[in-house]
């Protein structure tokens, strides 16, 4: 018997019991739809988080003074570790071709006041490059000026919240605020951004890096943000930055260069595991659907006992009977799987229409696994009924009512 004939016969007998076929199909469809939809959601969450990190910039190196490893030889004179300086930052920008932009960072806390209102906020000193490196933007006025780094001009850019709290709706741009003992002219207000890398961008004040260094009486930088041109060059640039600092700091490797890769991949792994777990839970419903199919097939075998007896009498072999019932179970579950895939996919499409921010789409492995699993479950749970059909005694089967 050809495969086409086998399929035709199986489809014919499934079509003979439409309601029952439809119900067990539905069970399988729900199972597969659950797997597809839930893994799509998990995958969406994972991508959402990665996108958030990417918005900060995945091609970012952060130079931190000091080496996090335990170093140093006992007996050496302590305190020779060099701070990182504005000159270091300029050297990175000038001497490393992979580097696109460099933003030095000085951080302190000061009182900001306008009229009678006063608010203690973090004051961040940086340069114009900081705007792009940290993907910031201003809603009013302009960002820090592109003057050379060391000249400390008395200008400030306010975070959204600071501007609101201090000015209470008054136009801040052009006004003079006091930051600590300094009088500063407000030149811009940042767009709301929320918390980024552990810092609330809305509740801080930006000033030129030279100003901040004078304000806090510092000669060294807190961080240097280095934006690399291409993500692919990240590791290479990292090596060059370390070598450059070693050169400039008398052969001592006294900095740490952080990349976001490690953080992103950890998050990605956690959410990936979560997706897998959710998918596995949904896959349990596939097993339930499989039991449904087994039930349907058992009923079919007992209802069609006479037919099986007849088939055996007209020269249909045991293995052919087995094949017929296994094919029916497999078709049932595969059709249910495809239906479920369509339903799950549609549900996700609708969800994405409603929440465009969530980049949810079922991962290919989950689609493949759900389909393979539904087919496998059909075969597995179809096996018992099919074997029962194949082992029926033809004489008793013919005589059954």
């Amino acid at each position: 018997m050809t495969l086409a004939d086998l399929f035709r016969f199986a489809i014919g007998s499934l079509g003979g019991h439409r309601l029952r076929t439809a119900l067990s199909l539905l069970g399988m469809a729900i199972g597969v739809a659950a797997v597809v939809a839930l893994t799509a959601l998990g995958e969406g969450a994972r991508r959402y988080v990665i996108d958030q990190f990417a918005s900060i910039g995945t091609n970012l190196l952060i130079v931190v003074p000091g080496k996090t490893e335990t170093t140093g030889i006992p007996g050496m004179v302590p305190g020779t570790a060099n701070d990182i300086t504005l000159q270091d930052a300029e050297a990175v920008a000038r001497q490393i071709p992979e580097v696109d932009k460099v933003a030095p960072l000085v951080v302190g806390t000061e009182d900001v006041s306008y009229g009678a209102r006063r608010r203690q906020v973090p004051v961040v000193g940086s340069t114009q490059e900081f705007e792009e490196v940290r993907k910031l933007s201003v809603v009013r006025g302009e960002f820090l000026p592109a003057a050379d780094m060391e000249r400390g001009r008395s200008v400030a850019v306010l975070g959204q919240k600071v501007a609101q709290e201090i000015f209470l709706g008054e136009e801040p741009v052009g006004k003079i605020v006091r930051i600590g003992g300094w009088r500063m002219r407000v030149i811009g207000v940042l767009a709301p951004r929320g918390v980024q890398l552990g810092m609330n961008v809305d509740d801080m004040v930006l000033v030129p890096v030279g100003t901040a260094m004078k304000m806090f009486d510092r000669r060294s930088l807190f961080r240097i943000f280095v934006q690399v041109r291409a993500t692919a060059d990240l590791e290479q640039a990292k090596g060059k930055v370390i070598r450059l600092f070693k050169e400039r700091h008398d052969g001592e490797e006294d900095i740490t260069v952080l990349t976001q890769d490690a953080v992103v991949s950890t998050f990605s792994q956690i959410l990936g595991a979560l997706t897998l777990a959710v998918g596995a839970i949904a896959a349990i419903s596939l097993t339930v659907a499989g039991i449904g199919i087994m039930n349907v097939m058992l009923v079919a075998v007992s209802e069609r006992t006479r037919e099986i007896g007849l088939l055996r009498a007209v020269g249909v072999g045991r293995r052919q009977v087995l094949a017929v019932f296994l094919t029916e179970a497999a078709l049932l579950s595969a059709a249910g799987g495809l239906l479920g895939l369509a339903v799950g996919w549609t549900a996700i499409e609708i969800l994405v229409q409603v929440f465009p921010a969530l980049p949810a789409s079922p991962p290919p492995w989950a689609v493949g696994a759900a389909l393979a699993l539904s087919f496998g479950v059909g075969l597995l749970f179809g096996w018992l009924p099919a074997r029962r059909a194949a082992r029926l005694d033809p004489v008793l089967a013919l005589a059954s009512r």
Binding site: D5, L311, R312, A313, V314, G317, R319
Partner: protein, 244 residues
């Protein structure tokens, strides 16, 4: 065609052993027409299913077409049923969801015949039972006689050399029954060996020979033409006590 030697078949019914067949010896020539008679429970259906390789005897030997059936595997018995034997049942055993043509086609589908060959044979078989106009009807759209004629077409479509009929007219009115018997006779005339199980003497009288079974024993053998005239058919001829 058929040789039976000391065939015994016992099965359990409600914990009690039932001796369906006891020491059956029989010989059937190719082309013969045999009727098996007997009261219900006499073992005549068991004998028919044994001949049809659906039931295996517990002991004894059964040679079919020169081969000893007991030595054959299930797969080989399947092949024998497929190519050598055609079954006709009292309750027709048509698959309700399939049309007349599809029912007739069924054995050929599983035998792996090509679609064009199948179509030709279906048309010829249904024409031979005068059902060419019912080819796409389902069993529930056919009369009893028509259903049995479809079953008959299905039985011959693989061109078997042995047809086994179990009460083929049992569910039919006299006219339809006669049509079926005429068709069976015609197949027999064409050289097919025919074994019919029946309790109806008017059916049995068409046979060349009649075997009477009672309680698993062959109690009588007689020519078909004598059946109607024989009184007390199921009583052993030399019996001293009348059965209770």
């Amino acid at each position: 065609m058929i040789r039976l030697e000391k065939i015994c078949r016992t099965y359990q019914l409600g914990g009690q052993p039932v001796h369906a067949l006891v020491d059956i010896d029989e010989h059937v020539e190719p082309g013969e027409h045999i009727a098996i008679m007997g009261p219900s429970g006499s073992g005549k259906s068991t004998l028919l299913y044994t001949l049809g390789c659906l039931d295996r005897p517990d002991s004894g030997s059964y040679w079919l077409d020169g081969r000893e059936v007991a030595r054959l595997s299930d797969e080989e018995l399947t092949q024998i049923r497929r190519h050598l034997i055609g079954f006709v049942f009292q309750s027709f055993h048509l698959v309700p969801r399939l049309t007349a043509a599809e029912n007739v086609e069924l054995p050929m589908v599983f035998a792996g015949l090509s679609r064009s060959e199948r179509r030709e044979r279906v048309e010829a078989a249904l024409a031979s039972v005068a059902l060419s106009d019912r080819i796409d009807h389902r069993p529930d759209q056919l009369s009893g006689g028509e259903r049995q004629r479809v079953a008959l077409a299905r039985a011959v479509v693989m061109q078997p050399r042995l047809i086994l009929a179990d009460e083929p007219t049992g569910n039919l009115d006299t006219t339809s029954g006669r049509q079926i018997l005429d068709l069976l006779d015609r197949m027999n005339d064409e050289g097919v060996t025919l074994v019919v199980v029946t309790h109806d003497p008017t059916v049995a009288q068409r046979a060349d020979r009649v075997i009477v079974l009672v309680d698993g024993h062959i109690v009588r053998r007689l020519p078909g033409r004598d059946v109607v005239a024989t009184a007390n058919l199921f009583a052993p001829p030399q019996s001293r006590e009348a059965p209770g």
